[in-house]
């Protein structure tokens, strides 16, 4: 009797088709320069660029979009209403800066100006309360070496479970800044394989294998978007300008071939150093470069999708810090121009 009720319970519908679709088809729309695609849970996005190229800043903006509510007390904030987990391998994240960015993002909400409920006196309280609510669903950990990173990943499932039970908000985004942080230290790792030759030795390859394997398992249990950065050294900056046009007299098929072969150096304007197991794990890759003119203030960056390969470059800027007079530029990410190659 007991077992049959168990079976009945198991086959009972616990979710309508609509619920299923809304669960499976979740799309995350992130702020520029990640705006070109809606991301699905399970995507692994890698932001590649030299240091500094505002990569961490892009992560912060994406995290803010994620933890902000869609609407709060009748004011539209356009957030995704989810929790974010941030694993900091670069160990440079500044919470004061992050909270300031968040506060600002809250205050620029259009509806706040016209809301009848929130007058000027209660505005401060509104911003404060919403900021602390958002910050409570932002989870942060620092790792100073690969073993700490592995320990974090291995125990993350329980952490996410716990958070889901306590707060009732799902986690849709995991951020890792930056994936290559321990490259040099891992490369020099070698543990003595005493007694047993089958014992796995600690090495760059072994660490990367385990990281990818753990993340894969985590994605199965908790579907989410993984957002990572990778610091690279750019090789020869002007490669991009060398291939400007396809010779006129080519047939379209030749032209495609031409582009595919000629643009090869452009596909890899930097030296790849992460093991291929990681490279194959990445589903989306965007390259950020600072503009050639280094004295440009505020600095302008260009972004270019390498995976999937889009033949276009977007330019964007952040303006000057958080000063009031340039604040719109900073947060609005004004897209200066689109150049199609």
């Amino acid at each position: 009797m007991e077992s049959s009720s168990g079976v009945r319970k198991w086959i009972e519908a616990d979710e309508s088709a609509k619920e299923l679709l809304s669960r499976v088809l979740i799309q995350l729309f992130l702020p520029p320069p990640l705006h070109n695609f809606p991301f699905r849970l399970g995507n692994v996005v890698e932001i590649v660029g030299p240091s500094p190229s505002a990569k961490t800043h892009i992560l912060m903006q994406a995290a803010i979009r994620c933890i902000l509510p869609k609407e709060w007390k009748g004011v539209h904030h356009g957030g995704l209403d989810h929790a974010v987990m941030f694993i900091d391998l670069d160990c440079r994240f500044d919470i004061l800066h992050f909270s300031r960015l968040l506060e600002h993002q809250i205050t620029i909400a259009e509806g706040l100006k016209f809301s009848e409920e929130i007058d000027r006196d209660s505005l401060g309280g509104y911003v404060k309360n919403l900021t602390s609510m958002c910050l409570r669903r932002f989870f942060y950990v620092r790792c100073y070496e690969s073993l700490q990173f592995l320990a974090t990943l291995k125990t993350m499932h329980t952490k996410i479970q716990e958070q889901k039970e306590n707060h009732g908000v799902g986690i849709h985004m995991l951020i890792i800044d930056s994936i290559g942080a321990f490259y040099w230290t891992d490369r020099a790792l070698s543990s003595l394989t005493l007694g047993d030759t089958n014992r796995k030795g600690l090495s760059l390859q072994a660490v990367s294998d385990t990281v990818v394997e753990e993340l894969r398992k985590l994605l199965q249990l908790h579907p989410m978007v993984i957002l990572t950065t990778k610091t690279v050294n750019l090789q020869g900056r002007c490669l991009k300008h060398e291939i400007k046009s396809v010779p006129r007299n080519m047939s379209s098929r030749d032209a495609t071939f031409f582009r595919a072969t000629r643009s090869k150096p452009e596909n890899n304007p930097y030296r790849e150093y992460m093991p291929s197991v990681w490279q194959n794990f990445v589903t989306h890759r965007v390259l950020i470069r600072p503009s050639d003119d280094e004295n440009q203030r505020p600095p302008i960056f260009s972004s270019e999708w390498l995976l999937p390969l889009l033949n276009r470059t977007d330019r964007f800027t952040f303006g000057d810090k958080y000063y009031i007079h340039t604040i719109i530029l900073y947060f609005g990410y004004i897209i200066f121009q689109f150049t199609y190659i």
Binding site: I95, F98, V141, K154, T155, T158, A188, K200, R297, F318
Partner: protein, 315 residues
């Protein structure tokens, strides 16, 4: 990392039976566990006669792992911690403090980059003197090139904005006592000293500041960079150790990096590409060759845009 056997006294569940089971999967230490697929391991306990106990053992190892990384904190906890602990430390140069919006901060690793005699050491000494004279806390000065000079500090004390404080010889001595200088001539000694410091540091109490200065870090690191990947690994792990000391123990860490000639007669930092994303803050110092006027510009800062600069006089 600890072999499983050494865990037995604290965790009786990790008994010889469990160790044997792990050994059959080539696992001998917690470190091996980190590289192993624990889910697969859990599945393989099913075939074992004592599967329940083994599973329990694995879940104990899981809790041990949780202790191996820093705890997860939510944004609010982080913010409260930062607001309570991350205070600005005046450098003694008003203009620099204004540029950096409050000076150097606790919890940060700050790097000064500049050619020789651009005022890097002078700045370090000034910060040290300033911390000591204003009774803010203590300073540990790791000197790699015999550049530390108590006489200079003494002079700097005279120039201090509140000379009344340091009139008496006794007060002067007390101030000097706050600054501990140690000569370091190779990177391994530096690692030793930093590990010692890490083990002796007490949890933060009140508003007392601890400052750590390494002048210059580049002269210790550049000799080992030639040895390839190993040298880079040492450099990067030194960076992480300094960041850990700064952030977890709330120290303010200041290091200097000299400059060397590069192609086309330009100067470039001795510690370059692989180092430049290590510090929280990177400041460039340069000096007009004839005068005492220096300029400082921001190369990297958590939130201030790179390129902002200020002039100051060394005196």
């Amino acid at each position: 990392m600890a072999p499983l056997k050494s865990l037995e006294p604290d965790y009786p569940i990790i008994d010889s039976n469990f160790q044997q089971f792990c050994a059959s999967h080539h696992i001998f230490s917690v470190e091996d566990f980190l590289l192993h697929d624990i889910y697969a391991l859990e599945l393989s306990t099913k075939q074992h006669f004592d599967s329940k106990r083994l599973e329990e053992g694995i879940s104990v190892v899981r809790t041990i792992m949780e202790g191996l990384h820093q705890p997860w904190l939510n944004g609010m906890e982080l913010l409260q911690k930062a607001q309570g602990n991350k205070h600005g430390i005046s450098t003694g140069y008003e203009r620099i403090d204004v540029l950096l919006e409050g000076g150097l901060f606790q919890g940060n690793l700050v790097e000064l980059v500049g050619p020789s005699s651009s005022g890097k050491t002078q700045l370090c000494l000034k910060v040290a003197a300033n911390v000591a004279v204003n009774n803010l806390g203590s300073v540990t000065f790791f000197d790699t090139g015999n550049s530390f000079s108590p006489k200079r500090i003494d002079k700097l004390l005279d120039q201090s904005s509140e000379p009344a404080k340091i009139k008496t010889e006794e007060v002067r001595r007390r101030v000097m006592d706050k600054i501990v200088c140690q000569s370091v001539f190779d990177i391994y000694v530096l690692f030793d000293l930093l590990h010692q410091l890490k083990s002796t540091l007490k949890p933060v109490t009140g508003s007392s500041v601890q400052m750590l200065i390494v002048d210059s870090i580049s002269s210790l690191v550049t000799p080992i960079l030639g040895s390839g990947a190993h040298g880079h690994a040492l450099m990067v792990s030194l960076g992480f150790l300094l960041k850990e000391l700064a952030y977890e123990h709330n120290l303010s860490v200041l290091v200097t990096n000299h400059m060397v000639g590069a192609e086309g007669g330009h100067l470039k930092p001795a510690l370059g590409e692989s180092w430049k994303n290590v510090p929280d803050m990177r400041l460039h110092v340069s000096r007009d060759c004839k005068s005492n006027i220096c300029s400082m510009s921001i190369l990297r800062h958590p939130y201030i845009t790179a390129g902002k600069a200020v002039m100051f006089s060394l005196k």
